[in-house]
Amino acid sequence: MALDIVDLVAGYGDITVLRGINLSVPAQGVVTLLGANGAGKTTTLNAISGLQASVSSGAIRLEGTDLTRMPAHERVEAGIAHVPQGRQLFPFMSVRENLELGSYAPRARGHDKDVLDRVFSIFPRLKERLRQQAGSLSGGEQQMCTIARGLMSKPRYLLLDEPSLGLAPIVVKQVMSVIRQIAGQGIGVLLVEQNVALALKQAQYAYVLEHSEITIAGPATELQNDDRVRKAYLGL
């Protein structure tokens, strides 16, 4: 029971960004993918959700189902929700409409009410903002709304791309506590972060992506004490 990436080679056009990476996200808990800017973290997520990046070899399997050649919209139906970097909301639509679009996939239809209640229990702030245009929310609220929208499709696996980017430290704390709550509800979370110390605190397992390859992998607690990680990413 996991989301498995096997020997994945992927990129954009003629440019290869990932040269055969392997990683596995269990059905519950948080796995983090770390790495410097341009290492290929976002490309990994795009390859999993089937957008922009093209896969030339390898496989993406969701609990046995092969997603590698599946169109992007069917992958949402299979149980993947990708919360993109940079809060890609629908700015001229209300928060409610943004959330409704989150449950566009057939798997979420008819459950809108339950899912919405669950999402409000995690993000009480959004309930007050339902009628507001998404583009007029504060940065932190937009990030919350993006994650909430991702949860609306009742995903089995949630891909989070740099959720702490550009947020005030206190808001980052809130976002991280939300991620813990989500993982506790039986959703496998793949967390991509530049804030390595923060990510290692949330995750049970971690991968480090360097120059298109996974160079370090192991339990998060081990990586916190790994000399290479401490030097390169924690500045210790």
Binding site: P71, V76, P84, Q88, F90, E97, L101, Y104
Partner: protein
């Protein structure tokens, strides 16, 4: 001289409604796909020929033929989207113009080949019928066209506002990438939007058959006004297309009577330029929308 004003206003509003109907499909396609469909007039013309032949061969009323022609054009539009529009969706503007303009030339010449250059018209029992209210005469065909125009505009706005796919379409315009991440099949919605856009042209064509002549370049003559209406109302705004249509219709009718028939287009275009000087995004357009949709 002023006692004719109510008549002029009514006539202007009625013709304005038809302008609005001609423009809805154009603004829908631009609003959703960011493609200016230069072949939109040809879809109107094909529907007119369809309505003409259904009437000539089997005596089917042009209003009834809406229910036959619209689904056919809707299907045809989806096919054309797949073949002509999809490959140029993210191409430079010049290439998009060549493709849809080329489509327009092909369709015009198909009509010319099959049906010849003759002007044809459909005579129905209600062609010259009119209702008299007070001292205002209301032409039946124009009134029906006006009513259908508002009905169709209302239906489209309700669809975009409340339905699943309508919301998904609006979302797709604002952020195509994010819409895909929601599980929206953007290829299918592109086909749907183009199909619906040309289906609106088909309805307009059927409605116009009893009022206007049917000939291979009828679409060109009709669509020029529609372009003005779409920009005036705000690119991508359905309500804007209707309001813009009414303004152009009334302006043309009033200047045609009070100033000169030759100048009616000139005055309408001067008004058009003046409005755009004050509101460059059009009457009901949203500033910056034309850039939002390009992602």
């Amino acid at each position: 001289m002023l006692d004719i004003l109510p008549q002029l206003l009514v006539s202007g509003l009625l013709i304005g409604g038809v302008y609005g109907l001609l423009s809805i499909g154009l603004t829908l396609i631009f609003g959703m796909l960011r493609i200016v469909n230069f072949a939109q007039g040809e879809f109107i013309m094909f529907a007119m020929f369809g309505a003409f032949w259904l009437h000539a061969l089997w005596g089917i009323d042009p209003y009834l033929s809406i229910f036959i022609i619209t689904p056919v054009v809707f299907g045809l539009g989806q096919l054309i989207e797949r073949v002509v529009i999809k490959p140029i969706l993210h191409a430079p503007h010049a290439m998009q113009i060549f493709a849809t303009f080329g489509l327009s030339v092909v369709l015009q010449n198909l009509a010319l080949t099959f049906w010849g250059p003759d002007y044809r018209s459909v005579q129905t029992s209600y062609t010259s019928q009119s209702f008299i209210v007070g001292n205002v005469a209301i032409s039946a065909t124009s009134l029906y066209a006006f009513l259908v125009a508002f009905l169709m505009a209302g239906a489209l706005m309700a669809f975009l506002q409340f339905s699943r796919d309508g919301k998904a379409l609006r979302a797709m315009v604002q952020n195509r990438y994010a819409a895909s991440l929601m599980g929206v099949n953007t290829d299918r919605l592109n086909r749907l939007a183009f199909g619906a856009g040309v289906a609106y042209a088909a309805v307009a064509g059927c409605i116009l058959t009893p009022i206007y002549y049917t000939y291979p370049t009828a679409g060109v003559d009709l669509i020029i006004t529609a372009f003005v209406v779409v920009v005036l109302g705000g690119l991508g705004s359905v309500a804007g297309a209707m309001v813009g249509g009414l303004i152009i219709g009334v302006t043309q009718t009033l200047t045609g009577f009070f100033i000169s028939v030759e100048l009616k287009d000139v005055i309408a275009l001067v008004l058009f330029i003046l409005i755009l000087l004050i509101r460059p995004q059009g009457l009901l357009g949203r500033a910056g929308m034309e850039e939002v949709g390009t992602k």
